[in-house]
């Protein structure tokens, strides 16, 4: 989130799209209700009339996978009616920047310049600004926005095709609903009005997932809604600590604090600094990532401590590298596992046998492992995959050795979680873990100690990364000291630091107060630079703060601690004009106090000493971008500078009015025997299908299916469909039906409903069905995972699979039942 949960109450319009927070983030509705009580409007755009739709002021249905079409239409509506916040767009976005002639878009083919069909990849160097060739190349601008090659005009041209009729034809959304959505949301273009967007997997889990979000970000920039209270682009994270996990380097392509993972071509630390540090564009740009070398060296010092020296490049030589251009994300991991290239796997707090797209590929892939370590709080389908009645392999023939390690649940250990709003909140241990269950860190510790002994004894191929790792100080008697880890994440001074006059300002052993003090020379450490400042020298773990705000706009600076530097709304420098005066005076986030010559309110997004733009030394607000500007046109994504509508991987249509591409031309496609695709526009699988979560179950349901009070409310997999489709197929409510895709089939209880309606798309009637993916065969009578149906085709940038729009068929299944256990009552009792 750029903003945070409580800030939702400040919005004048809340657009919920690609999310169903009433079901999946019920607490967010507390704040949405507060906004509604003030007269704010809640818009829900969703293929289904969801629980969120049930309390919305505006509801618009759309065909799954057509978000860019709908949002592209909104961009056109905003531009046609001149509803941009002009001051903001001119000063804080790249609307006025001139784009080089090499950039082009061919509307007929739907391709941008630089496309290589053999690699399904773009050469992104074709997309650049026209700029002077100085040390700080200054982008050429036309502040009248009239230049035919300026971003504003290129955007206008790109979205000219997204007129009401074409958009309605593609999305299936009636024109009057489009008009209502556009008009309502665009009403926030006034400087004192704010619109927020709440999105989740409904945006991301598409071949064009990142572009869905970008399209919305473009709208938010045009309306001046980023950096203000009640605005922003707000990702509703699907797990309580998924924000924390990405902050702390859980993904393959980033280390902690979003530092890039080294690749093979970055041989030395100097190479890394050169390649990973973006070059500043323009003299008014801060380009915060120019600090990358300081953060990287501090990270290495945290990893290897005293073993990291200038001579060994602070241990950079021991860091694991990625092969250049190779993606090591989920779908590729399981593809390699299916190919037999991966021998061992830790499934840690994970249930890929149910959570992964195309589980019919994942489950046999697990059988190709030599060993599998399953760490979880309950038995799950992954650890017991060999028992799966549908695996097609006899349990005695599965050669994989499976180790089950019981873990402590979140309330059985101490530590922090970081919520969607970037708030790091300390949690105290509430109970001891049962039996042999241990906190994850303790399990890792025991494994690490063994491993280190083995490396000491047997040396091995590359022992240094293990032998030189800083480790023992976080553990006492094999138990993790969570606060010691928190301090290390914050970072220490490893030597005295003096100022220009030679006076010592920081002593060796002190905690680093802010990432502004991190150094490139090895005198500081920091496990994750974005968290620097969360643990202070006076012994204060700021994530333990619990002071409720008594007055103000809901920032609650005294409650927990928000990265970075307790800033609650990021890009807040864009929420004030060039003189530091808030665009919305009623809900000021920050403001410049001319008398005291400093910022008041939230922590300013930039150096504390920064003056407003209009003053000497003032800088542009989008400090994480090299050019300091919000990007209406971006050179960073794999699938083009402007979001363009492409049909889903599997679509009921093999043609669309926007372009000739069958689906996102930059997405990686798998071609193995288990990577099956239904032909778009074919008759075998005519129905669109989407998967989703329900309030009662969490992810694959491993935790919640073991909670009888929750299983009681939501006991079985179901498939929702329109009453019209049910009638057409002769399906009754409560009947077990078979849902099948090109990849597999599941049984589910039919739930015909008024909440899904057939749509007319490009002159054809289109039906959508949907299933929750929280069930698994290990729970008696519940049914199996809906991910048996989903395709393992991924987004061009992130490789997140397209589980929100694919093709299926639904058939009656006479005589079939989900009841696997004839006398299950005793097992279900609380």
């Amino acid at each position: 989130m750029t903003n945070h949960w409580i800030d939702i109450k400040n919005a004048d319009v809340i657009l919920v799209m690609g999310a169903n927070p009433a079901s999946n983030h019920p607490i967010s509705m507390h704040w949405a209700t507060k906004a509604k009580e003030r007269g704010s409007k809640l818009i829900c755009v969703d293929p289904r009339f969801t629980q969120t739709a049930s309390i919305s002021d505006v509801y618009a249905p759309l065909r799954p996978g057509t978000d860019i079409s709908l949002l592209g239409g909104m961009i056109k509506y905003i531009l046609d009616n001149d509803l941009i916040q002009r001051d903001y767009v001119l000063n804080y976005t790249n609307a006025s920047c001139i784009v080089s002639e090499e950039y082009d878009f061919d509307a007929d083919s739907g391709l941008f310049s630089g496309y290589d069909p053999s690699k399904r990849r773009y050469d992104k160097t074709k997309w650049k600004y026209v700029s002077t060739n100085g040390e700080l190349s200054e982008p050429e601008k036309d502040m009248t926005l009239a230049h035919p090659r300026c971003v504003y005009q290129l955007m206008k041209k790109h979205y000219a095709r997204y007129d009401f009729d074409t958009v309605s034809k593609v999305t299936g959304t009636p024109v009057k609903d489009l008009e209502t959505v556009y008009k309502t949301f665009a009403s926030t273009h006034y400087p004192d009005k704010a619109g927020t967007v709440l999105y989740a997997m409904g945006y991301t889990q598409h071949l064009v997932g990142v572009q869905n979000i970008r399209c919305m970000a473009v709208i938010q920039l045009l309306l001046g809604n980023i950096g203000v209270a009640g605005g922003g682009i707000n990702a509703l994270r699907g797990e309580s600590n998924v924000q924390g996990s990405t902050d702390h380097g859980l993904l393959f392509h980033i280390l902690t604090g979003y530092l890039k993972t080294p690749t093979a071509s970055m041989v030395t630390l100097e190479d890394y600094k050169k390649v990973a540090t973006p070059k500043t564009i323009g003299k008014n740009s801060i380009n915060w990532w120019s600090n990358t070398p300081k953060y990287m060296v501090s990270y290495l010092k945290s990893m290897y401590g005293d073993n990291a020296t200038a001579e060994n490049q602070f241990g950079y030589i021991w860091m694991p590298r990625l092969d250049d251009g190779v993606d090591y994300s989920w779908l590729n991991i399981f593809d390699a596992m299916y190919e037999g290239k991966i021998k061992g796997c830790f499934a840690w707090g994970m249930n890929p046998a149910c959570s992964s797209a195309n589980t019919n590929k994942v489950r046999p892939a697990l059988a190709k492992l030599d060993w599998l370590v399953n760490v979880n709080i309950f038995p799950n389908e992954t650890g017991w995959f060999w028992e799966d009645p549908n695996l097609g392999i006899k349990p005695s023939d599965v050669k994989t050795e499976v180790f089950v390690l019981p873990a402590a649940a979140s309330i059985e250990k101490e530590g922090s979680i970081s919520n969607s709003g970037r708030w790091m909140q300390w949690r105290y241990k509430g109970a001891d873990a049962p039996g042999d269950a241990l906190p994850d860190a303790d399990i890792m510790h025991l494994i690490f100690v063994e491993l280190k002994e083995l490396y000491k004894k047997e040396k091995g191929k590359f022992p240094e990364p293990i032998l030189n790792l800083r480790w023992d100080e976080y553990f006492h008697h094999n138990e993790v000291d969570a606060e010691a880890v928190a301090k290390d994440i914050n970072g220490y001074f490893l030597a005295d630091v003096t100022n220009a006059e030679g006076k010592t300002i920081y002593k060796k052993g002190d905690l680093v107060p802010t990432f502004g003090a991190l150094l490139e020379d090895g005198r500081t450490s920091s496990g994750s630079w974005v968290y620097t400042g969360s643990f202070t020298q006076d012994g204060k773990n700021k994530s333990k703060n619990r002071i409720r705000e008594k007055s103000g706009i809901g920032l609650n600076p005294g409650w927990a601690w928000s990265w970075p530097v307790n800033r609650r709304i990021i890009y807040n420098l864009a929420g004030v004009d060039k003189n530091g005066v808030p665009y919305n005076k009623n809900l000021p986030v920050i403001w410049w106090d001319a008398a005291e010559k400093k910022w008041k309110g939230d922590v300013v997004d930039g150096p504390a000493t920064l003056p407003p733009m209009a003053m000497e030394g003032g800088k542009l607000p989008f400090i994480m971008n090299e050019e300091g500007l919000g990007r209406l046109w971006s050179t960073k994504l794999e699938d083009g500078p402007f979001p363009e509508h492409y049909e889903p991987f599997e679509s009921p249509f093999d043609k669309n009015p926007f372009n000739k591409q069958p689906f996102n031309p930059a997405s990686k496609i798998f071609n193995g025997p288990m990577d099956k695709r239904a032909i778009s526009g074919g008759s075998e699988f005519p129905l669109i299908c989407s998967t989703y979560r329900v309030t009662e179950h969490w992810q694959t349901g491993v935790m919640t299916r073991h909670t009888p009070w929750l299983l009681e409310i939501q006991p079985q997999i179901f498939v929702e469909m329109s009453e019209e489709l049910a009638k057409e197929k002769g399906i009754n409510a409560g009947e077990v039906v078979e849902v099948s895709s090109a990849r597999g089939s599941v049984l589910a209880v039919a739930v015909p409903t008024k909440r899904i309606k057939p749509m007319t798309v490009m002159g054809k009637t289109v039906h959508t069905v949907g299933l929750p993916w929280c069930f698994g065969w290990k729970t008696a009578n519940a049914g199996d995972s809906a991910n048996i149906l989903t395709p393992n085709a991924g987004d061009a940038n992130t490789m997140i699979p397209e589980t929100k729009s694919f093709l299926v068929n639904v058939k009656k299944a006479p005589g079939k039942t989900l009841l696997t256990d004839k006398a299950p009552a005793a097992r279900r009792r609380a």
Partner: protein, 293 residues
């Protein structure tokens, strides 16, 4: 002061947190449920029972004026906590009792198992533990047990509680579990009269969003649970044939006559008995005397 709970169904998102927190607060067992084989709208358990004191019902109601032409209305159902409860009136041993704070509570120590309350309730709420050898009557008690046992710890996470935090915890204990769990403010707990004026305030402030009626303000003589809705109540499963008179009041005249009636009758019978006994004694004495003579 009589407490009540206002349910504003226009704010309910159907998250069913109330349903789960009720189970937790009352430590109720789960039920074996299915979707399969019944005409389901994803409601579970299907009905209230001795194991389930509250359920959230949902109804899909066509409404051409609503966004999407549809209203999806969720309503939490449970004991209505009538002002003058028929169950308490029917109970021969006062096991069911309307408390001063508004809750209708049950005392299993007094209950003799006649189940008159089950038949008396116009809302069909009290349920017996049919699978038990010594069945109790079970139903929502507006978390009377929480209010009675309210206990606040001296410290939280090693820090002594501030006065503010202490008050916060006390208030939270004095709130029924379902209301405390409600995310959107669809449930509100407070003084009945103030809730009624607040409810009318909401109706008047946005008449387009509400039916001009508070269900439970007058139904069956007034109830401790009251509802606001955007659609007519009969469309979301509420009985609208109950009238405004409380159920016990229908039988009040005859029931009130029982006590004085039984005294009069008792006195009469005692008198008859005394007279007969005297006569028998007199007759016996007479025969003795005759024998002596």
């Amino acid at each position: 002061m009589s407490n009540a709970i206002l349910v504003d169904t226009t704010k309910c998102i159907g998250c069913r947190s109330c349903q789960v927190s009720c189970k937790q607060s009352n430590m109720l067992p789960s039920e074996e449920t299915h979707l399969e084989g019944r005409n389901s709208r994803l409601q579970n358990p299907p009905v209230l029972s001795a194991k389930t004191f509250t359920i959230v019902t949902n109804y899909e109601v066509d409404d051409p004026k609503a966004p999407g032409g549809l209203k999806w209305v969720f309503a939490k159902r449970q004991c209505m906590h009538c002002n003058d409860p028929a169950c308490a009136s029917a109970c021969p041993v006062t096991a069911l009792h309307k408390q001063k704070n508004g809750a209708v509570t049950y005392d299993s120590a007094k209950c003799m198992g006649c189940r008159y309350c089950v038949w008396a309730c116009p809302f069909g709420i009290p349920t017996a533990e049919w699978d038990s050898l010594a069945p109790r009557i079970r139903k929502c008690d507006m978390c009377f047990h929480r209010m009675v046992d309210a206990a606040v710890p001296a410290e939280l996470n090693g820090t002594p509680l501030s006065a503010d935090t202490k008050q916060l915890l006390v208030n939270s204990q004095q709130t029924p579990a379902c209301v405390k769990a409600c995310t959107t403010g669809a449930l509100k707990f407070g003084d009945r009269d103030s809730l009624i004026s607040e409810a009318w305030g909401r109706i008047k402030a946005s008449p387009q969003n509400y039916q001009p009626h508070i269900y439970g303000e007058k139904e069956a003589g007034g109830t401790g649970y009251m509802y606001l809705s955007a659609v007519p109540f009969e469309k979301i499963g509420f009985r609208t044939d109950l009238g405004e008179r409380s159920y016990p009041s229908y039988s009040a005249t005859i029931m009130k006559a029982v006590a004085p009636g039984s005294i009069v009758l008792g006195a009469l019978l005692a008198g008859i008995y005394t007279v007969i006994r005297r006569r028998t004694e007199v007759a016996a004495n007479g025969s003795k005397q005759q024998k002596k003579e």
